[in-house]
């Protein structure tokens, strides 16, 4: 079985974002970028399926500008076999990304697509479900365990209040939650080897998809600043404040 896995280049999760002074967007100039943490989990899961002999090829896809090749190389160093970049300098909304991925899926015919449940920049949590809709495949979102048995995937999903298990007929789309696995680090020899792995570049036009805007970003503002409160001297004072001033206990 071939496994397709997607990765997104986003701001590193340890970096504090700042809003541009003209409120047009956040400022990503000279900011450290990295692979979206949920995508790292997706790559790890795909590589583990290969190591377990269930997958025979792991293909990693990213969509965006040329620099996304860095994250694709990272995925190759982690164990993916080859990479595809759908290169575009336009803003790609979730629906457009899903349409582009639909075309990649039609060409590659994977048995399973593994994606992060959301990207930590736009926090949309949409693309996996949208790809599932467009391909007509079933979806196992927010997965904490994936088992492949014959032509089915049994997926344990993290839902409000607990876990839900669903059985999906392959091909299917899985989106990862935090508990699915702990991603490995790439070793130096694997980083070197990754430089020679194949990386194809396509454009939205090659795939026959029109990049269309369905939304307009009106402005981006910093959130309301939280003011530092007071220091209390003792546990007694703290309990008193919580009871009588804040009235929360």
């Amino acid at each position: 079985m071939k496994v397709l896995v997607t990765v997104k280049r986003v701001i590193d999760y340890n970096v504090k974002v700042r809003v541009k002074s003209d409120n047009s967007d956040v400022d990503l100039n000279n900011v450290k970028m990295a692979m979206n943490p949920f995508c790292e989990i997706a790559v790890e899961e795909a590589v583990r399926l290969k190591e377990a002999g269930i997958a025979n090829e792991v293909v990693v896809v990213s969509l965006g500008s040329k620099v996304c090749q860095e994250q694709l190389r990272t995925a190759l160093a982690l164990g993916a076999d080859r990479a595809i970049l759908v290169e575009s300098d336009d803003v790609l909304e979730s629906l457009t990304v899903a349409k582009l991925l639909q075309k990649v899926v039609a060409e590659e015919k994977p048995g399973l697509v593994i994606m992060g449940k959301q990207a930590i920049d736009t926090d949309n949590n949409q693309t996996g479900q949208m790809l599932a809709a467009l391909t007509g495949y079933p979806q196992g979102t927010f997965a904490s365990e994936v088992k492949i048995e014959g032509d089915k995937a049994q997926v344990i999903r993290e839902v409000d209040g607990g876990l839900q298990t669903v059985s999906l007929t392959l091909p299917a789309i899985v989106t990862t939650d935090l508990r699915l696995n702990e991603p490995r680090y790439a070793s130096l020899p694997n980083i070197m080897k990754a430089k020679r792995k194949p990386l194809d570049v396509k454009t939205p036009a090659d795939l026959g998809v029109e990049v269309k805007a369905h939304t307009r970003l009106v402005k981006v503002a910093p959130p309301a600043e939280r003011q530092a409160g007071m220091k209390v001297a003792s546990v007694e004072e703290l309990v008193d404040k919580l009871k009588n001033e804040a009235k929360v206990i």
């Binding site: 701001i11 999760y13 340890n14 504090k16 974002v17 809003v19 956040v26 979730s94 629906l95 899903a98 930590i120 920049d121 736009t122 926090d123 949309n124 949590n125 949409q126 693309t127 479900q129 949208m130 599932a132 809709a133 007509g136 079933p138 979806q139 927010f142 993290e158 839902v159 409000d160 209040g161 607990g162 839900q164 298990t165 669903v166 059985s167 999906l168 007929t169 299917a172 935090l178 508990r179 369905h214 939304t215 307009r216 970003l217 009106v218 402005k219 503002a221 910093p222 959130p223 530092a228 409160g229 007071m230 220091k231 546990v235 007694e236 703290l238 309990v239 919580l242 804040a246 206990i249």
Partner: protein, 309 residues
């Protein structure tokens, strides 16, 4: 044109997230209809009909919708929703699961987790884990929206008298099956809906010491969370993680114990109404967002706190 709210329920009871979603919908301008899709769920429709501000209930009662499988619900909603201006659901794990699928099948965008309605087509939503607020205008004819429930007050569950319209429409994609569910039966509330949360960080030293904050949690009826540092150190499992890559919470009271306040943790809890920090390092960044800060050794302060509650 009217607004269609998709009710969250378990076939016997309406979930409170629906009430916050109705409030958001009522700010979009138009009659509010509520879709109750499920199996043997008449009691949910009766309950929803009493919500103040709801004009009509659309009840679709069919075994294929029993578990709200996204594959089936997403075939139903576009068909019922095509004559509505907005289709709105709470941004719970259920709403997040099926709504993007609905949007894609209608060839429109989804606006996720709105916290404010600016106008019928423009909404505010947090991005970068709440470190920025984006104002987004929808350019689509049908607006598909999920609502962050902490951003809107709950509509009154009593006082309405909407008519219930029953629709027969069975849509089975046939590609997925519900196998089982394991809903935590802890005496403690779950993190994302708790009104009080007490979380431990690297300062807890090890997993056993979390018993100290669990005792406080039991007295307060609180949920127990953790910082990424505590999870990465192996003290507790990562389903307890509060933060940008963990759970985003906004309780009435958040107590951070031995947590320094890394950006990625603050992103997950800074919308809490009241924040308390207990940390022995008075320079810890957590004090910059705390309403009440106590500079103290947690191993002395936390047992004292438990005694005094």
């Amino acid at each position: 044109m009217a607004i269609l709210v998709i009710a969250e329920h378990d076939n016997s009871e309406l979930k409170s997230a629906t009430l916050n979603t109705v409030t958001a919908a009522s700010q979009m301008g138009g009659d509010v209809h509520v879709l109750v899709a499920g199996s043997a769920c008449q009691s949910v429709a009766d309950e929803a009909a009493k919500i103040q501000g709801v004009d009509r209930i659309v009840l679709v009662d069919d075994a294929v919708y029993e578990h709200q499988l996204a594959e089936n619900i997403s075939l139903l909603v576009p068909e019922l929703g095509k004559d509505y201006s907005h289709i709105v659901a709470p941004a719970t794990t259920s709403g997040k699961n099926f709504m993007p699928r609905v949007a894609a099948l209608m060839d429109v965008a989804q606006i996720s987790e709105i916290v404010r309605v600016d106008s019928a087509d423009t909404f505010d939503r947090p991005i970068y884990a709440g470190n920025a607020i984006a104002t987004v205008q929808s350019l689509d004819a049908t607006k598909v929206i999920t609502v962050r429930t902490t951003g809107f007050d709950a509509a009154s569950a009593e006082g309405g008298s909407a008519a219930i319209q029953t629709v027969e429409l069975s849509k089975n994609a046939g590609t997925s099956l519900f196998v089982g569910a394991e809903i935590a039966k802890s005496d403690r509330p779950e993190l994302t809906s708790a009104s009080v949360i007490i979380s431990g960080g690297r300062g807890m030293g090890n997993g056993e010491n979390f018993a100290l904050i669990e005792k406080v949690a039991d007295k307060l009826g609180a949920a127990v969370g953790a910082s990424r540092a505590a999870v990465d150190a192996g003290f507790v499992p990562n389903d307890m993680q509060v933060g940008q890559t963990g759970k985003i919470v906004a309780p009435d009271l958040y107590v951070a114990v031995g947590i320094s306040g890394a950006i990625q943790h603050l992103a997950g809890m800074k919308d809490s109404k009241v924040i308390v920090a207990i940390n022995k390092d008075e320079e810890a960044p957590i004090f910059q967002v705390a309403d009440y800060g106590l500079v103290a050794d947690l191993f002395e302060a936390v047992p004292q706190l438990e005694q005094q509650l």
